[in-house]
């Protein structure tokens, strides 16, 4: 069977983060319902899509993410990625709330990884080993989006994809 190369650990992490943010009542998914496409837009968007989403997300808190880098350890099955999340909101307290939630959720290394592995929405093609907070920046007025404040959270994630006996992606 051909492996699904569209799968990406970063997308899995994003799904997990969104579900937890909604569950914690930090985001209300109804606020992000788009009449145009008749579905909810998850306001955790890759930087490449940020310009298209600017209008829809105008004034709404949201998160923009990008991959900083990917590398493999000596054990080539274990992938190490750094992901930059930039949280935008017009409200200082909202940014702090999201930032503190992410720190609480992702700073516990193996335990944080276990949480994702237990998440029912996770693709069965991934296994996470460790997640931790590599850096958190102070909240400051955003230069990119006028009227917004922003803060960065950088996560370092170690994971592997399920492999066949030849070491190829399943």
């Amino acid at each position: 069977m051909t492996p699904d190369y569209k799968l990406d650990a970063m997308f899995e992490l994003r799904k997990f983060l969104w579900s937890k943010l909604v569950l914690a009542g930090i985001f209300d998914d109804e606020e992000y319902y788009s009449d145009n496409i008749a579905e909810t837009i998850i306001p955790i968007i890759p930087v490449q899509q940020a310009p298209e989403m600017n209008q829809f997300l105008s004034g709404k808190k949201h998160i923009v993410y990008d991959k900083i880098g990917t590398s493999y350890e000596d054990n080539w099955m274990v992938c190490c990625e750094q992901i930059l999340f930039t949280i935008y909101s017009t409200d200082f307290a909202e940014i702090n709330e999201i930032r503190n939630f992410m720190m609480d959720q992702f700073r516990r290394m193996d335990e944080s990884a276990k949480d994702i592995n237990r998440y029912s929405g996770l693709s069965n093609k991934f296994k996470f080993y460790s997640i931790f907070i590599a850096d958190v920046s102070p909240t400051e007025p955003s230069q990119e989006l006028q009227g917004f404040l922003s803060t960065d959270v950088i996560l370092e994630v170690k994971y592997s994809r399920m492999l066949d006996s030849a070491g190829r992606f399943l």
Binding site: V47, D74, L84, T86, A134, S137, Q143, E144, I154
Partner: protein, 262 residues
């Protein structure tokens, strides 16, 4: 004096014990000679290693190259997410593109295996975006000028007046008149690269980078190999030659670190 030298000095006093026939030796025993030889050998390996320029250079280079890569990736990602703050550190319209960076890191050698890192700006080589048909310019010091937030004075050099487009209109300046750009690159760029540099080097990010460099592996595996006692020392003898041991240590270090050691 570093610890490796002290170790060699201390071990040197054992030289007389290595020579089983020495009259000064109070303990004439093959085991003592062998132990002395082993300590002497390992002390020489350590001393040779820490004094070797090739080893120090390799050690520093492995760490520096990883930091260079990780810092570059970090700034690239920041520039993609925040182009208004960091576009000036790249060629025009290429914010976040590794190949278009206008910054670089530089390693400044320190004592032993220590070193410092600083940054430098690269000259821009691409043309400033301009409407078709206009004379095109290269703003070579784009990165440094915009990062410093230095106001710019643009004056005619080869023509008698400045002509440029602004909000869809062509502006003809009076003869010889100059234009002042108060915030080149926009109000959001001043000191933004310096800020990111300082965040990277004051946070866990640089530590992660050092860990990821694999310097521990390089050091541990090579050192373990070099420290392994040669067969001739493992063999019980009543006499060992310090000169031979020193040369064996030299050779072991050379072999363990890729043959590049002198």
């Amino acid at each position: 004096m570093d610890s490796s030298r002290l170790l060699v000095q201390a071990a040197s006093s054992l030289e007389r014990l290595m020579v089983g026939s020495s009259k000064d030796a109070s303990i004439k025993d093959s085991n003592v000679a062998q132990i002395s030889a082993a300590i002497y050998y390992q002390a020489n390996v350590i001393a040779k290693l820490t004094e070797s320029k090739q080893f120090k250079d390799k050690f520093k280079s492995v760490i520096f190259q990883q930091i260079l890569k990780d810092f570059g990736n970090y700034v690239d990602a920041q520039a993609r997410v925040k182009p208004k703050s960091l576009h000036h550190m790249y060629e025009w319209k290429k914010a976040g593109n590794e190949k278009a960076r206008l910054f670089n890191l530089r390693m400044i050698d320190g004592e032993g295996v220590s070193f410092k890192i600083s940054y430098e700006y690269k000259m821009s080589k691409s043309f400033v975006p301009a409407p078709e048909g206009r004379r095109r310019h290269v703003f070579a010091n784009k990165a440094s000028v915009m990062e410093a937030g230095m106001p710019l004075i643009i004056a005619p050099r080869h023509s008698e007046r400045l002509v440029f487009d602004s909000n869809g209109q062509t502006i003809f300046m009076p003869k010889g008149a100059s234009v002042v750009v108060k915030r080149p690159g926009g109000s959001g760029v001043k000191n933004q690269f310096t800020l990111k540099y300082s965040i990277f080097f004051r946070s866990q990010l640089v530590n992660q980078s050092i860990k990821a460099s694999g310097f521990q592996r390089l050091f541990n595996s090579s050192l373990t190999k070099a420290m392994r006692l040669p067969a001739s020392i493992k063999k019980v003898q009543y006499s060992f030659s310090p000169n031979t041991i020193r040369s064996m240590a030299d050779s072991a270090v050379t072999q363990s670190f890729g043959g590049a050691m002198v």
